[in-house]
């Protein structure tokens, strides 16, 4: 008798999703799917809009990572305008991107994943939340809030709003940085450093106790994609894409946004609205890969900042080649957060950072343009086509969750096979299957908002459609 277990919706993710686990007649896991069940339609309803409206329109996709969409969209628009933005504008955008990365990684680590990491996968689900963390480790609770505030406040200082700032525009930014705001950000740095280091120390103290999870949390050879600089250091806002294979060998390098659709394809599976992104020359699914903090650290040779470089060297000791277990996304996220703080400090010491020339202007000079950046959770690409009047005729967004879709599905199956036995599921097993997805920190669509509680329902259904077991929390 074939049975199906559904985990619906998945808790502690940005947006909504559900997991279905299919059992064979012996009660063993046969297959597993991670479904994204929301439809957004941003690509379609942007058609007909003037291209210069796109950044502020696209920022509405997400309440957690609006800056990522803002930047990728602005870069796509600048490709259409065929302009190079002023140096200071580029630096300010980098700082904005770093601020968002730090606050997003803080949300992922402290608020979404630390309940599992600090309180344990088997701990009481009623207490396995930010309140449990605040009670058990108030210092980490405060550090999490401190890092969130650090990133959010920089975004607010630069863009006047913490969420959906309209400061980034095609051609640059609308306002230069003031000396007062620069000094305010500089004054926040010591606390930010302390909070990241506290998290790194706490994580390293507990990581070894998760050896079983490390073994089965999407732990398999794969390809890895991310932005990188010419000196092989990490990059989030500019640079070009590099794809490496499971051994670390470069498959393709120097992929600019203009070549993105030439080499990257999107496959469709009937159980999810999120597409499955792959490298075209290898086909689907062989050309699937992972993006985000772990792949970024797998790809680069250095972080480019002293403290993060020390952490990178330690991180790379986890394996001889690319690090395969997605559990290590947590560690990579903290290394990147440290890099983010260091990079913000470095940008603020740029002698031109207060320069008033922060915007280039131009009209439509090309009928097509693409922009790519690294969002906190992975590579993000925006690609637009316009008519002679600058009206959008076609838009395509390839988001990190799509890049990671195949790996997340494989990870769910791997963990389900490890933890769901004989047609039985326990709350601990359920949480571990969810935690695999949380390690990737996918953003499904938080701007749609969720009202009230999001109960977790896991249902086991037999081949006749009868519910034979159900777990609700």
């Amino acid at each position: 008798m074939t049975q199906t277990i559904t985990i619906d919706p998945v808790t502690r993710l940005e947006g909504h999703g559900k997991i279905t686990i299919m059992l064979d007649s012996q009660g063993q896991v046969e297959d597993a799917h991670f479904h994204v069940t929301q439809v957004r339609g941003f690509e379609k309803f942007s058609e007909g809009r003037p291209f210069y409206e796109m950044p502020s329109l696209m920022a509405r996709i997400c309440g957690i990572c609006p800056v990522s969409h803002l930047l990728a969209s602005a870069k796509a628009c600048e490709a259409i305008m065929a302009v190079r933005i002023p140096h200071t504008a580029a630096q300010l955008r980098r700082m904005l991107n770093m601020a968002q990365m730090v606050q997003s990684h803080a949300l992922s680590f402290f608020h979404l994943s630390s309940p599992d990491l600090l309180l344990g996968m088997e701990s009481d689900p009623v207490k396995r939340n930010i309140f449990g963390v605040a009670a058990a480790r108030p210092d980490l609770g405060l550090a999490g809030i401190g890092l969130r505030r650090f990133g959010q406040h920089i975004i607010e200082l630069l863009g006047t709003k913490r969420i959906h700032t309209g400061w980034v525009v095609p051609g640059g930014v609308t306002e230069a940085l003031s000396a007062a705001h620069r000094d305010e950000i500089l004054a926040m740095l010591p606390e930010a450093y302390a909070n990241v280091k506290l998290a790194l120390t706490a994580y390293k103290q507990i990581a070894d106790s998760f050896s079983q999870e490390i073994e089965v949390f999407a732990n398999f050879p794969s390809n890895y994609l991310g932005l990188i600089n010419e000196d092989e250091s990490i990059e989030f806002t500019d640079g070009a894409l590099r794809l490496i294979d499971p051994t670390g060998a470069i498959i393709e390098d120097g992929m600019t946004a203009s070549r993105f659709t030439e080499v990257i394809g999107e496959a469709v599976e009937n159980y999810s609205y999120t597409k499955f992104v792959y490298y075209k020359p290898l086909g689907y699914p062989q050309g699937s890969y992972r993006v985000g903090p772990l792949p970024r650290l797998n790809i680069v040779k250095s972080m480019g900042t002293p403290q993060a470089d020390k952490e990178l060297a330690e991180f790379k000791q986890l394996a001889k080649g690319p690090i395969e277990s997605s559990f290590h996304y947590h560690h990579a996220r903290l290394v990147e957060a440290l890099y983010g703080v260091e990079n913000i400090e470095r940008i603020l010491t740029d002698p031109l950072i207060l320069d008033k020339h922060v915007r280039a202007t131009a009209g439509v000079n090309r009928l097509e343009g693409g922009g790519q950046i690294e969002a906190p959770r992975g590579t993000l690409n925006h690609h637009y086509k316009v008519d002679e009047n600058g009206k959008i005729t076609w838009a395509n967004l390839v988001v990190a969750t799509g890049h990671n879709n195949n790996a997340m599905n494989r990870g769910v199956l791997q963990s389900a096979r490890a933890y769901v036995k004989d047609g039985k599921f326990t709350p601990g097993a359920l949480n571990r299957v969810e935690a695999v997805i949380r390690a990737f920190d996918p953003c499904l669509s938080c701007s749609t908002h969720a009202f009230g509680q999001m109960p977790l329902v896991m249902t086991m259904v037999n081949a006749d459609g009868e519910v034979v077991d159900q777990l609700i929390r």
């Binding site: 309440g63 009670a135 969720a450």
Partner: protein, 148 residues
């Protein structure tokens, strides 16, 4: 972009303008109530939360005291509600505002669109009056006794 879902933000921005010259009033207009707001809540003498609600009749207004949520109720962590923010403020900062209030306005439609429903649009003047009255009452309340 989600119709009446934006009414809380609209009202907050109205309050920001109304009390722009009023010392002691700070308006935070956000699309989501995120965990770091717990620090702002903890530092405030009084707090008025404003949000739309799917659980009440379209355009209906409800102003009521809000208590910290008891820890351990399966709370979401990517955004909080008012009771959860109060609980987090208490847990991390050991501080709570006196007499925190929550004003909700019943949503008529949260479909894609920038306009409010007719019911919510009609309720906006009364909502603004309630916000003004509540904030003025909060400002006139005596400061809490530090000994308590």
């Amino acid at each position: 972009m989600r119709g009446d879902d934006g009414v809380g933000l609209w009202l907050a921005e109205w309050a920001e303008q109304r009390f722009a010259d009023q010392l002691g009033v700070r308006v935070i207009a956000d699309h989501q109530w995120t965990p770091e707001l717990a620090e702002d809540v903890a530092r405030a003498q009084s707090v008025l939360f404003i949000d739309c609600s799917l659980d009440t009749a379209p355009g209906s207004l409800h102003l009521k005291p809000v208590e910290p949520a008891a820890p351990g109720q399966g709370i979401n962590t990517h955004h909080q509600n008012a009771a959860e923010l109060l609980a987090l403020a208490n847990e991390l900062y050991h501080s709570l505002p006196s007499n925190p209030q929550l004003l909700t306005i019943g949503a008529g439609s949260i479909e894609f669109g920038e306009a409010f429903s007719a019911a919510v649009s009609a309720a906006l003047p009364e909502a603004c009056r309630l916000i003004e009255e509540t904030i003025l009452q909060m400002l006139s309340a005596p400061p809490p006794d530090p000994a308590n």
